[in-house]
């Protein structure tokens, strides 16, 4: 029941919070809840067998029998860390929004927990319909989060965000239904189980577009590409980020974007191996374009948040690159980079939120000389900047290095282009850093009547776990990679005939007790 608990507990919390009468203790309650959720999710590590590539801790109940739709959840090395990242970020977000969210506090925390359920559900569902439900469910709280607690142009941003993502998922629903049909054709029994999907051999014809596998591949890919977002469909991201409140941005960058990349790994690559291989050039190119484009455009943004949003586009380009080179290095790097991006970009948004709370501006040109006024803030920001530009011994380096290595081994041409992202990344981050923190004091920093105060204890507590993680992940990556290794190996070694078996040993253990 562990996974179901992890998925559904936040939902219970959300309802509980919604009916909690006391306004004053609301945040404490929410924080406590999120910590409980995090601790419970840590128990997954205890139960998880890192040596096995199978699907573990599986739970399966019939939902709609006629169509073979099940409540089917399970975890493997690919989804493990993303779930933990989600539960890890939530308490941080609640603590970070302690003062910045001051209207409709109850609704906000309910949304947050609902979102948590949706995201964890997306990562753990092994049934297409269940997955789709969670996937779409995640949109709704996010929609409200941006729409209610967002900035001035929040309505524009929410609608853009909503329509972009919806447009993609509609095609995906069609594709899922078609997959169910194909499963029925192949096995005689209709099923929406992903494991059954894996068994279906979908006809593929190279060179043409109008064949089943290619069409299905693109239907799924489009939905995920918009979520990631891959280059030409990325324009919702900067707007959503800029208008979202800090917690919204953190969730968006930290976890929601990973839903896209994770699903590439869980759905697209194993389900459509031929199409993936045949069309990988397209995604590799788009990834590289995303890296360079995101970096270039980030460079000239006048708004810090927008800059970081475009840097996300660039970082997500790396992840796409890693996924589609289809070797151990690339995929391991991509998984690692997902976590890194969650940690470091999440932290960047938190920091920007903190300074925004003080000055109510995100315009780079109005800052300057912050370093001499807010030393602790500066140190934190600098460390996260380093992580973002992938300096060795921070987490970012491991991911980026592995991705580039994988790319070079598979397709050197893309690596030559992608490597410019290393330079451009440093350029835009450091240039921003220079303009905000160095030089003479800017107009927002100068104000003697309202001197800026450095981070308080709460904010330091918010940042500390992230900073620790930055170095932990950079210094001892094996602590994390050992858990994903067997799953990734399994995926790469069987990429043309992928299958996933259910790990039974926990059940056996249970039956021992029963006897």
């Amino acid at each position: 029941m562990l996974l179901s608990t992890v998925i559904l507990l936040p939902l219970v919390f959300a309802v509980f919070i919604a009916f909690w009468p006391q306004q004053r203790t609301l945040r404490h309650l929410a924080l406590g809840f999120s910590l409980i959720e995090f601790l419970i999710s840590l128990m997954i590590l205890n139960e998880f067998d890192p040596g096995s590539a199978r699907l573990q801790l599986v739970e399966k109940f019939t939902w709609i029998e006629r169509f073979g739709i099940q409540y089917f959840v399970g975890i493997d090395g690919i989804s493990l860390w993303l779930v933990l990242l989600t539960t890890f970020l939530t308490p941080i977000i609640i603590l970070a929004s302690w003062t910045s969210i001051d209207t409709k506090v109850k609704g906000f925390h309910s949304c947050l927990f609902l979102l948590q359920t949706a995201m964890i559900g997306t990562f753990l569902s092994m049934d297409a319909i269940l997955f789709y439900v969670f996937w779409e469910l995640s949109l709704i709280p996010m929609y409200f989060m941006v729409g209610i607690w967002g900035g001035a142009r929040r309505i524009y941003a929410t609608i853009k965000f909503f329509i972009f993502t919806m447009a993609g998922s509609v095609l995906m629903l069609v594709a899922i239904i078609y997959m169910m049909y194909l499963t029925q054709q192949a096995t005689g029994v209709m099923s929406s189980s992903l494991l059954e999907f894996y068994k279906v051999k979908i006809p593929f014809v190279a060179g043409t577009f109008m064949n089943q596998q290619t069409l299905l591949f693109f239907a799924f890919s489009l939905a995920f590409a918009i979520k990631v977002p891959i280059w030409p469909v990325h324009t919702w991201l900067p707007d959503a980020h800029v208008e979202a409140p800090t917690p919204g941005s953190v969730i968006l960058a930290g976890v929601m974007l990973k839903m896209g990349t994770y699903c590439f790994l869980r759905w697209v690559i194993p389900l459509f191996p031929d199409a993936t291989e045949y069309w990988s050039w397209l995604f590799l190119s788009l990834g590289v374009i995303g890296i360079i484009y995101g970096a270039l455009v980030a460079m000239i943004q006048p708004d810090i948040k927008k800059l970081v949003a475009y840097s996300s586009v660039s970082h997500m380009g790396y992840i796409i690159l890693g996924l589609f080179v289809m070797n151990q290095y690339g995929i391991t790097g991509a998984i690692y980079q997902m976590l890194n991006h969650g940690v470091s970009t999440g932290a960047l948004f938190l920091l920007i939120g903190m300074i925004y709370e003080r000055t109510h501006s995100r315009e780079i040109s109005k800052y300057g000389g912050l370093a001499s006024v807010l030393p602790i803030f500066t140190i934190f920001f600098f460390i996260i900047t380093l992580s973002s530009i992938a300096v060795p011994l921070t987490n970012g380096f491991i991911g980026e290095y592995l991705i580039l290595l994988g790319t070079f081994k598979a397709a050197p041409v893309y690596a030559y282009f992608a490597v410019t992202g290393v330079v451009l990344g440093a350029a835009y981050m450091l240039w921003m850093f220079k303009r905000v923190f160095f030089g003479e004091k800017g107009e927002l920093v100068k104000d003697d009547h309202h001197p800026l105060h450095d981070l308080n204890l709460r904010e330091i507590v918010v940042m500390a776990p992230l900073l620790i993680l930055v170095f932990w992940m950079g210094l001892l990556p094996n602590h994390f990679l050992n858990w994903t290794k067997s799953s990734v190996d399994h995926l790469v070694n069987n990429k043309n005939k992928y299958y996933l078996e259910i790990h039974e040993n926990k059940v056996a253990k249970g039956s021992e007790y029963a006897n």
């Binding site: 000239i300 151990q328 790097g333 300096v391 290595l405 450091l430 160095f438 990556p477």
Partner: protein
């Protein structure tokens, strides 16, 4: 003592120093901060000496201490350990780093005493040493890269140390980004080597190095080494990525001494020397290295002649000397390169610290036109600087002479060298002598041009002691590598350095036995050129100070070009940076705002327009709605009936 503990202390001592000073960064007690930092580096120095002596104690073919701490990264076949090893090459390096480092830390304690951020400064400095040690000791290219980026980072922090000045912050940024260009190439180099050898472990790569030279330009090894060399041009300030180093003088002067003269900038040479078995097998890369090194030496030296800022002169001098080192490794004389690296560390650190002493005395004045005659105010600084001067211009028997002569000789004699390379080297040597003498004359000798408000004074002992130690090293440092031809003449003085390095350096293929007379001749020629240049400079700047101005006027366009550093910065701005920013703006405006978003708007507008059409059908009149039903009924029935 156990090697691993020794190694751990060696590495972690500076890091602990960094942590202590980092935590108490707000304190301005310079003596305590400086003391902690200096002690941390000194402990490392002791460890280095112990390791060195251990190494000496080992048999010649087993001189290697390898310590593995933990497995860092392990993905599929890609395995990298947090492991370090000391061999003959890295032993020299750690001695230089910690030794010179200790002296510079000591010097800094006094030099930075008035600065509020002194503790932060020492924290950065310790962190730098830590990273430098990782770079030098790392047993794989990736570990080396960790230090490689780490020193770049510290360099960034220290150049932009006085960050409230926008230009200084910009200089730091420039350094980091320029280095990043090199680092990106270094990454590619690593990828190529990993693809070729299946490992990044330096020892394994060296062991697997081919025995036959690779002559193809597009061969894997040539590409790999070429990429690594581009990485080195970034870190070691060679054409085309040297532009950051002169700007890096924005940092505190001891930083320039430690990072931008003695240690970090030599990382590129060190890397090539450490990987010499594969570099020697790629003659094409070697050729490029030699040419780039020679050209950098010449170009930087020529710029050095025209500069007025004491630190800028030294900076260009550093670039030029680094060019020499690349020239050396480019012609296969790895030992000579390392030798020059060492002597250069001594005399250039000395000169930077000397200039720091001068700047300190002159109350932050760096323009040599406002100096002159400082000899009588600050005798110790003058005499130590003087020794550095004779060392760098290559007057025997001072340190620079031996190393520089070795390089020039090898660039002529080695089968990979060429007389042209020798000529460029010799010309640069002449220029070096010229601008160094000019610096000497304008700063210490001649008439005093010091403004009335400034009262120069000799620096306190904490600053002069390092100067004296370095001066001594600048004198005797060269004696461990006396060339055979001289050693032979003066009674069998062995070339200690080359013997020490012999096991780890691949010999140059097809090296013929040299004619002693030729070697003597060339040696004489280079010393002659240097002496004459020095004499001319002395004449120009002390005897008749009006001549240089006249000459400069007579070749004004050329002078201006050189004075403005060949407009390379401007060129980069014009051809790379500005177009890039312009491109970004255009791309953002045309692609993001005006194309992708426009498309979505167009789609949205289409839907909206369609909605407008259907909207007009919704008149609100119920009877009209009923009429639609009727029409629908008619259509449906017609279809059914006609069918």
């Amino acid at each position: 003592m156990d090697h691993s503990i020794l190694m751990a202390v060696l590495l972690l001592s500076p890091f602990v120093g960094f942590l202590i000073n980092g935590v108490r960064y707000k304190q301005a007690t310079y003596k305590i901060s400086g003391g902690i930092a200096t002690a941390a580096i000194f402990i490392s120095f002791i460890c280095s000496v112990l390791l060195f002596s251990e190494l000496v104690g080992l048999p010649v073919d087993q001189r290697k201490i390898h310590v593995k701490f933990f497995e860092w990264l392990n993905v599929d076949k890609f395995k990298v350990d947090a492991a370090f090893y000391v061999d003959q090459i890295s032993a020299i390096m750690i001695l230089i780093i910690t030794g010179v480092g200790t002296l510079i830390h000591m010097f800094s304690t006094e030099y930075m005493h008035h600065d509020k951020g002194v503790t932060k400064y020492f924290a950065y400095l310790n962190l730098f040493v830590f990273n430098m040690l990782i770079l030098v000791l790392g047993d794989s290219l990736l570990t080396m890269f960790v230090g490689w980026e780490g020193v770049g980072l510290c360099s960034y922090l220290l150049i932009g140390f006085w960050f409230t000045d926008k230009d200084k912050a910009a200089a730091g940024m420039k350094a980091f980004i320029t280095n990043r260009v090199g680092d990106a190439a270094f990454l590619l180099g690593m990828f190529v080597l990993f693809s070729t050898f299946g490992t990044l472990n330096i020892q394994e790569i060296n062991a697997m190095a081919p025995t036959v030279a690779e002559t193809s330009w597009m061969g894997a090894l040539t590409m790999g080494t070429m990429f690594l060399f581009v990485g080195a041009t970034g870190k070691s300030a060679q054409i085309p990525l040297y532009v950051w180093l002169p700007d890096a003088m924005a940092g505190p002067t001891p930083v320039s001494a430690l990072i931008h003269a003695a240690t970090m900038v030599t990382a590129g040479i060190y890397m090539i020397v450490r990987l010499n078995p594969i570099f020697i097998m790629t003659p094409n890369t070697m050729l490029v290295i030699a040419i780039v090194g020679a050209l950098t030496a010449l170009m930087a030296a020529s710029i050095g002649i025209t500069q007025w800022d004491i630190k800028k002169v030294l900076a260009y001098s550093t670039v030029s000397q680094l060019g020499y080192m690349f020239l050396a490794v480019g012609v296969g004389a790895f030992g000579a390169g390392l030798f020059h690296l060492m002597t250069h560390a001594f005399f250039k650190a000395l000169m930077f610290l000397g200039s720091g002493s001068v700047i300190h005395a002159m109350h932050e004045e760096q323009d040599i036109r406002k100096m002159g005659g400082l000899k009588k105010y600050m005798p110790i600084t003058h005499w130590t600087f003087f020794l550095g001067w004779v060392a760098i211009i290559g007057i025997p028997p001072f340190a620079g002479f031996f190393s520089k002569d070795e390089i020039l000789w090898m660039s002529f004699h080695s089968p990979m060298g060429h007389p042209v390379l020798w000529a460029i080297g010799a010309l640069s040597a002449g220029m070096t002598a010229f601008y160094m003498t000019r610096l000497m004359c304008l700063t210490f000798w001649g008439k005093s041009r010091v403004p009335k408000t400034v009262h120069p004074h000799e620096s306190p002992a904490l600053m002069t002691i390092p100067l004296i130690v370095l001066a001594v090293l600048s004198v005797v440092g060269g004696w461990i590598g006396i060339p055979e031809v001289i050693g032979h003449t003066f009674g069998h003085i062995p070339n200690y350095l080359m013997e020490w390095l012999h096991p780890v350096l691949k010999p140059i293929p097809n090296l013929t036995e040299a004619e002693h007379s030729l070697e003597w001749g060339l040696m004489g020629a280079s010393v002659g050129i240097a002496s004459i240049s020095a004499f001319i400079a002395y004449h120009f700047y002390v005897k008749s100070p009006e001549i240089p101005g006249k000459i400069a006027n007579s070749i004004k366009p050329l002078y201006e070009l050189v004075f403005k550093k060949y407009l390379v910065d401007e060129l980069y701005f014009k051809t790379i940076i500005n177009p890039l920013i312009e491109l970004s703006r255009k791309v953002w405006f045309y692609v993001d705002v005006n194309f992708i978003d426009k498309i979505t708007y167009v789609i949205a507008d289409l839907i909206k327009g369609g909605g407008g059409v259907t909207r007009s059908l919704q008149t609100g009149n119920v009877q009209i709605y009923a009429m639609y039903i009727a029409i629908g009924l008619v259509v449906a029935l017609s279809i059914i009936i006609i069918k």
